[in-house]
Symmetry: C2
Subunit: 156 residues, 2 copies
Amino acid sequence: MNRVVMTTLAAAVALTSLGAAAQFQKPEDAIKYRQSALTVLANHFGRIAAMAKGSVPFDAKAAQDNAAVVVTMSKLPWIAFGPGTDKGLPTRAKADIWKEQAKFKDLQSKMIAEAEKFEAATKTGNLDSIKAAVGPLGSACKACHDDFRAEKYSSN
Amino acid sequence: MNRVVMTTLAAAVALTSLGAAAQFQKPEDAIKYRQSALTVLANHFGRIAAMAKGSVPFDAKAAQDNAAVVVTMSKLPWIAFGPGTDKGLPTRAKADIWKEQAKFKDLQSKMIAEAEKFEAATKTGNLDSIKAAVGPLGSACKACHDDFRAEKYSSN
Protein backbone atom coordinates (compact mmCIF):
# COMPACT_ATOMS: atom_id res chain seq x y z
CA MET A 1 0.00 0.00 0.00
CA ASN A 2 1.52 3.34 -0.95
CA ARG A 3 1.98 6.23 1.41
CA VAL A 4 -0.76 8.46 -0.01
CA VAL A 5 -3.36 5.71 0.33
CA MET A 6 -2.28 4.98 3.88
CA THR A 7 -2.44 8.64 4.87
CA THR A 8 -5.91 8.97 3.36
CA LEU A 9 -7.09 5.88 5.20
CA ALA A 10 -5.61 7.12 8.46
CA ALA A 11 -7.37 10.45 8.02
CA ALA A 12 -10.67 8.72 7.25
CA VAL A 13 -10.37 6.56 10.35
CA ALA A 14 -9.51 9.60 12.47
CA LEU A 15 -12.52 11.52 11.13
CA THR A 16 -14.85 8.60 11.72
CA SER A 17 -13.49 8.23 15.21
CA LEU A 18 -13.90 11.92 16.02
CA GLY A 19 -17.40 11.88 14.60
CA ALA A 20 -18.40 8.86 16.61
CA ALA A 21 -16.76 10.24 19.74
CA ALA A 22 -18.68 13.48 19.34
CA GLN A 23 -22.07 11.80 18.84
CA PHE A 24 -21.76 8.79 21.11
CA GLN A 25 -20.49 8.67 24.66
CA LYS A 26 -20.13 4.89 24.72
CA PRO A 27 -20.01 2.06 22.15
CA GLU A 28 -23.42 0.88 23.38
CA ASP A 29 -24.90 4.28 22.48
CA ALA A 30 -23.57 3.92 18.94
CA ILE A 31 -24.88 0.35 18.60
CA LYS A 32 -28.33 1.29 19.95
CA TYR A 33 -28.48 4.30 17.62
CA ARG A 34 -27.50 2.47 14.44
CA GLN A 35 -29.89 -0.41 15.21
CA SER A 36 -32.66 2.12 15.84
CA ALA A 37 -32.05 3.98 12.58
CA LEU A 38 -32.05 0.71 10.62
CA THR A 39 -35.25 -0.45 12.39
CA VAL A 40 -37.04 2.76 11.38
CA LEU A 41 -35.68 2.47 7.83
CA ALA A 42 -36.87 -1.13 7.48
CA ASN A 43 -40.30 -0.30 8.85
CA HIS A 44 -40.93 2.53 6.39
CA PHE A 45 -39.55 0.58 3.45
CA GLY A 46 -41.82 -2.27 4.54
CA ARG A 47 -44.88 -0.01 4.49
CA ILE A 48 -44.28 0.76 0.81
CA ALA A 49 -43.25 -2.80 -0.05
CA ALA A 50 -46.62 -3.90 1.40
CA MET A 51 -48.37 -1.53 -1.04
CA ALA A 52 -46.25 -2.88 -3.90
CA LYS A 53 -47.23 -6.45 -2.95
CA GLY A 54 -50.88 -5.44 -2.70
CA SER A 55 -51.21 -6.49 0.93
CA VAL A 56 -52.02 -2.87 1.85
CA PRO A 57 -54.06 -0.49 -0.36
CA PHE A 58 -51.93 1.86 -2.46
CA ASP A 59 -51.80 5.38 -1.07
CA ALA A 60 -49.58 7.62 -3.19
CA LYS A 61 -49.17 10.32 -0.54
CA ALA A 62 -48.30 7.79 2.18
CA ALA A 63 -45.80 6.09 -0.15
CA GLN A 64 -44.07 9.41 -0.79
CA ASP A 65 -44.02 10.33 2.91
CA ASN A 66 -42.62 6.93 3.83
CA ALA A 67 -39.97 7.12 1.11
CA ALA A 68 -38.81 10.49 2.48
CA VAL A 69 -38.25 8.80 5.84
CA VAL A 70 -36.38 5.96 4.08
CA VAL A 71 -34.02 8.45 2.42
CA THR A 72 -33.42 10.32 5.68
CA MET A 73 -32.70 7.09 7.55
CA SER A 74 -30.49 5.66 4.79
CA LYS A 75 -27.85 8.27 5.62
CA LEU A 76 -27.81 7.99 9.40
CA PRO A 77 -26.53 4.64 10.68
CA TRP A 78 -23.01 4.76 9.23
CA ILE A 79 -21.38 7.24 11.58
CA ALA A 80 -22.24 4.83 14.39
CA PHE A 81 -19.99 2.07 13.02
CA GLY A 82 -16.85 3.80 14.28
CA PRO A 83 -13.80 1.97 15.62
CA GLY A 84 -14.51 0.22 18.92
CA THR A 85 -18.24 -0.19 18.29
CA ASP A 86 -17.98 -3.91 17.52
CA LYS A 87 -18.91 -4.69 21.14
CA GLY A 88 -20.98 -3.15 23.90
CA LEU A 89 -24.47 -4.48 23.16
CA PRO A 90 -25.66 -7.56 21.29
CA THR A 91 -24.98 -6.78 17.63
CA ARG A 92 -25.12 -8.53 14.28
CA ALA A 93 -22.30 -6.37 12.91
CA LYS A 94 -19.55 -8.64 11.60
CA ALA A 95 -15.89 -7.90 12.40
CA ASP A 96 -15.33 -7.65 8.63
CA ILE A 97 -16.93 -4.18 8.75
CA TRP A 98 -13.77 -2.84 10.37
CA LYS A 99 -11.47 -4.86 8.11
CA GLU A 100 -13.15 -3.96 4.81
CA GLN A 101 -14.05 -0.31 5.28
CA ALA A 102 -13.85 0.60 1.59
CA LYS A 103 -16.27 -2.18 0.65
CA PHE A 104 -18.59 -1.33 3.55
CA LYS A 105 -18.67 2.34 2.53
CA ASP A 106 -19.27 1.45 -1.10
CA LEU A 107 -22.33 -0.61 -0.11
CA GLN A 108 -23.61 2.30 2.03
CA SER A 109 -23.31 4.68 -0.93
CA LYS A 110 -25.09 2.27 -3.23
CA MET A 111 -27.95 1.84 -0.78
CA ILE A 112 -28.32 5.60 -0.30
CA ALA A 113 -28.39 6.05 -4.10
CA GLU A 114 -31.07 3.35 -4.45
CA ALA A 115 -33.11 4.95 -1.66
CA GLU A 116 -33.04 8.24 -3.56
CA LYS A 117 -34.15 6.52 -6.78
CA PHE A 118 -36.85 4.79 -4.77
CA GLU A 119 -38.11 8.11 -3.41
CA ALA A 120 -38.11 9.53 -6.96
CA ALA A 121 -40.30 6.58 -8.02
CA THR A 122 -42.80 7.32 -5.24
CA LYS A 123 -42.98 10.93 -6.42
CA THR A 124 -44.37 9.76 -9.77
CA GLY A 125 -47.44 8.49 -7.91
CA ASN A 126 -47.37 5.49 -10.25
CA LEU A 127 -47.63 2.12 -8.51
CA ASP A 128 -45.83 0.27 -11.32
CA SER A 129 -42.84 2.63 -11.02
CA ILE A 130 -42.78 2.05 -7.27
CA LYS A 131 -43.01 -1.74 -7.74
CA ALA A 132 -40.02 -1.56 -10.11
CA ALA A 133 -37.97 0.38 -7.54
CA VAL A 134 -38.63 -1.93 -4.57
CA GLY A 135 -36.38 -4.73 -5.85
CA PRO A 136 -33.21 -2.66 -6.41
CA LEU A 137 -33.45 -1.04 -2.97
CA GLY A 138 -34.13 -4.40 -1.33
CA SER A 139 -31.11 -5.83 -3.15
CA ALA A 140 -28.91 -2.95 -1.97
CA CYS A 141 -29.93 -3.68 1.65
CA LYS A 142 -29.33 -7.40 1.13
CA ALA A 143 -25.89 -6.93 -0.46
CA CYS A 144 -24.62 -5.35 2.74
CA HIS A 145 -26.43 -7.81 5.00
CA ASP A 146 -24.96 -10.74 3.07
CA ASP A 147 -21.41 -9.55 3.66
CA PHE A 148 -21.56 -7.69 6.93
CA ARG A 149 -24.52 -8.84 9.03
CA ALA A 150 -24.26 -12.02 11.10
CA GLU A 151 -27.10 -14.51 11.37
CA LYS A 152 -27.25 -14.12 15.12
CA TYR A 153 -26.65 -11.36 17.62
CA SER A 154 -23.37 -11.43 19.52
CA SER A 155 -23.71 -12.13 23.24
CA ASN A 156 -22.31 -8.76 24.32
CA MET B 1 -69.35 12.28 28.59
CA ASN B 2 -71.74 13.22 25.81
CA ARG B 3 -72.50 11.10 22.79
CA VAL B 4 -70.59 13.19 20.23
CA VAL B 5 -67.41 13.05 22.28
CA MET B 6 -67.75 9.30 22.74
CA THR B 7 -68.31 8.71 19.02
CA THR B 8 -65.28 10.84 18.15
CA LEU B 9 -63.14 8.94 20.64
CA ALA B 10 -64.35 5.59 19.32
CA ALA B 11 -63.49 6.66 15.77
CA ALA B 12 -60.04 7.83 16.85
CA VAL B 13 -59.36 4.52 18.57
CA ALA B 14 -60.54 2.59 15.52
CA LEU B 15 -58.30 4.62 13.21
CA THR B 16 -55.30 4.18 15.47
CA SER B 17 -55.96 0.49 15.66
CA LEU B 18 -56.23 0.08 11.89
CA GLY B 19 -53.10 2.12 11.39
CA ALA B 20 -51.13 0.13 13.90
CA ALA B 21 -52.41 -3.17 12.54
CA ALA B 22 -51.32 -2.15 9.05
CA GLN B 23 -47.80 -1.13 10.06
CA PHE B 24 -47.03 -3.66 12.77
CA GLN B 25 -47.54 -7.38 12.70
CA LYS B 26 -47.04 -7.84 16.43
CA PRO B 27 -47.04 -5.60 19.53
CA GLU B 28 -43.28 -6.17 19.87
CA ASP B 29 -42.75 -4.70 16.39
CA ALA B 30 -44.62 -1.56 17.44
CA ILE B 31 -42.67 -1.25 20.71
CA LYS B 32 -39.33 -1.74 18.96
CA TYR B 33 -40.26 0.79 16.30
CA ARG B 34 -41.40 3.54 18.67
CA GLN B 35 -38.36 3.06 20.91
CA SER B 36 -36.13 3.24 17.83
CA ALA B 37 -37.72 6.43 16.54
CA LEU B 38 -37.41 8.07 19.97
CA THR B 39 -33.76 6.93 20.26
CA VAL B 40 -32.92 8.55 16.92
CA LEU B 41 -34.86 11.70 17.91
CA ALA B 42 -33.00 12.01 21.23
CA ASN B 43 -29.62 11.48 19.58
CA HIS B 44 -30.09 14.24 17.01
CA PHE B 45 -31.58 16.64 19.54
CA GLY B 46 -28.58 15.85 21.74
CA ARG B 47 -26.15 16.73 18.95
CA ILE B 48 -27.59 20.25 18.76
CA ALA B 49 -27.98 20.57 22.54
CA ALA B 50 -24.24 19.80 22.79
CA MET B 51 -23.54 22.74 20.45
CA ALA B 52 -25.83 24.97 22.52
CA LYS B 53 -23.96 23.96 25.68
CA GLY B 54 -20.63 24.59 23.97
CA SER B 55 -19.38 21.03 24.48
CA VAL B 56 -19.21 20.60 20.68
CA PRO B 57 -18.19 23.40 18.26
CA PHE B 58 -21.15 25.16 16.63
CA ASP B 59 -21.74 24.07 13.05
CA ALA B 60 -24.75 25.85 11.57
CA LYS B 61 -25.21 23.39 8.69
CA ALA B 62 -24.98 20.36 11.00
CA ALA B 63 -27.45 21.95 13.42
CA GLN B 64 -29.94 22.47 10.60
CA ASP B 65 -29.48 18.93 9.25
CA ASN B 66 -29.91 17.45 12.72
CA ALA B 67 -33.01 19.55 13.37
CA ALA B 68 -34.58 18.25 10.15
CA VAL B 69 -34.11 14.72 11.50
CA VAL B 70 -35.62 15.78 14.83
CA VAL B 71 -38.74 17.10 13.07
CA THR B 72 -39.08 13.95 10.95
CA MET B 73 -38.73 11.72 14.01
CA SER B 74 -41.07 13.82 16.17
CA LYS B 75 -44.00 12.67 14.04
CA LEU B 76 -43.25 8.95 13.84
CA PRO B 77 -43.54 7.15 17.19
CA TRP B 78 -47.19 7.84 17.94
CA ILE B 79 -48.83 5.41 15.54
CA ALA B 80 -46.96 2.66 17.37
CA PHE B 81 -48.79 3.28 20.65
CA GLY B 82 -51.94 1.52 19.43
CA PRO B 83 -54.20 -0.57 21.63
CA GLY B 84 -52.53 -3.79 22.78
CA THR B 85 -48.99 -2.42 22.55
CA ASP B 86 -48.58 -2.02 26.30
CA LYS B 87 -46.86 -5.41 26.42
CA GLY B 88 -44.65 -7.53 24.18
CA LEU B 89 -41.16 -6.17 24.90
CA PRO B 90 -39.74 -4.36 27.90
CA THR B 91 -41.24 -0.88 27.73
CA ARG B 92 -41.39 2.26 29.84
CA ALA B 93 -44.79 3.19 28.43
CA LYS B 94 -47.21 3.68 31.35
CA ALA B 95 -50.72 2.19 31.24
CA ASP B 96 -52.03 5.76 31.56
CA ILE B 97 -51.20 6.26 27.87
CA TRP B 98 -54.20 4.13 26.95
CA LYS B 99 -56.41 5.68 29.65
CA GLU B 100 -55.64 9.31 28.86
CA GLN B 101 -55.46 9.35 25.08
CA ALA B 102 -56.55 12.98 24.69
CA LYS B 103 -53.82 14.19 27.04
CA PHE B 104 -51.22 11.92 25.42
CA LYS B 105 -52.12 13.23 21.95
CA ASP B 106 -52.06 16.82 23.15
CA LEU B 107 -48.50 16.35 24.45
CA GLN B 108 -47.47 14.76 21.11
CA SER B 109 -48.85 17.77 19.21
CA LYS B 110 -47.06 20.20 21.50
CA MET B 111 -43.75 18.39 21.07
CA ILE B 112 -44.12 18.31 17.27
CA ALA B 113 -44.88 22.06 17.30
CA GLU B 114 -41.80 22.77 19.45
CA ALA B 115 -39.65 20.59 17.16
CA GLU B 116 -40.80 22.70 14.21
CA LYS B 117 -39.99 25.93 16.07
CA PHE B 118 -36.63 24.42 16.97
CA GLU B 119 -35.89 23.64 13.33
CA ALA B 120 -36.86 27.20 12.39
CA ALA B 121 -34.35 28.47 14.96
CA THR B 122 -31.56 26.36 13.42
CA LYS B 123 -32.40 27.84 10.02
CA THR B 124 -31.48 31.31 11.30
CA GLY B 125 -27.90 30.06 11.72
CA ASN B 126 -27.78 32.07 14.94
CA LEU B 127 -26.48 30.17 17.96
CA ASP B 128 -28.35 32.36 20.46
CA SER B 129 -31.65 31.63 18.71
CA ILE B 130 -30.86 27.92 18.82
CA LYS B 131 -29.94 28.11 22.52
CA ALA B 132 -33.28 29.77 23.21
CA ALA B 133 -35.17 27.01 21.40
CA VAL B 134 -33.47 24.06 23.14
CA GLY B 135 -35.26 24.59 26.46
CA PRO B 136 -38.85 24.63 25.15
CA LEU B 137 -38.30 21.45 23.09
CA GLY B 138 -36.61 19.73 26.02
CA SER B 139 -39.55 20.74 28.22
CA ALA B 140 -42.03 19.36 25.69
CA CYS B 141 -40.22 16.00 25.76
CA LYS B 142 -40.10 16.06 29.55
CA ALA B 143 -43.79 16.93 29.96
CA CYS B 144 -44.74 13.66 28.27
CA HIS B 145 -42.05 11.64 30.04
CA ASP B 146 -43.21 12.97 33.41
CA ASP B 147 -46.74 11.75 32.86
CA PHE B 148 -46.39 8.74 30.61
CA ARG B 149 -42.90 7.23 30.89
CA ALA B 150 -42.08 4.91 33.78
CA GLU B 151 -38.77 5.04 35.64
CA LYS B 152 -37.98 1.44 34.76
CA TYR B 153 -38.68 -0.91 31.88
CA SER B 154 -41.44 -3.46 32.33
CA SER B 155 -40.27 -7.06 32.47
CA ASN B 156 -42.11 -8.14 29.33
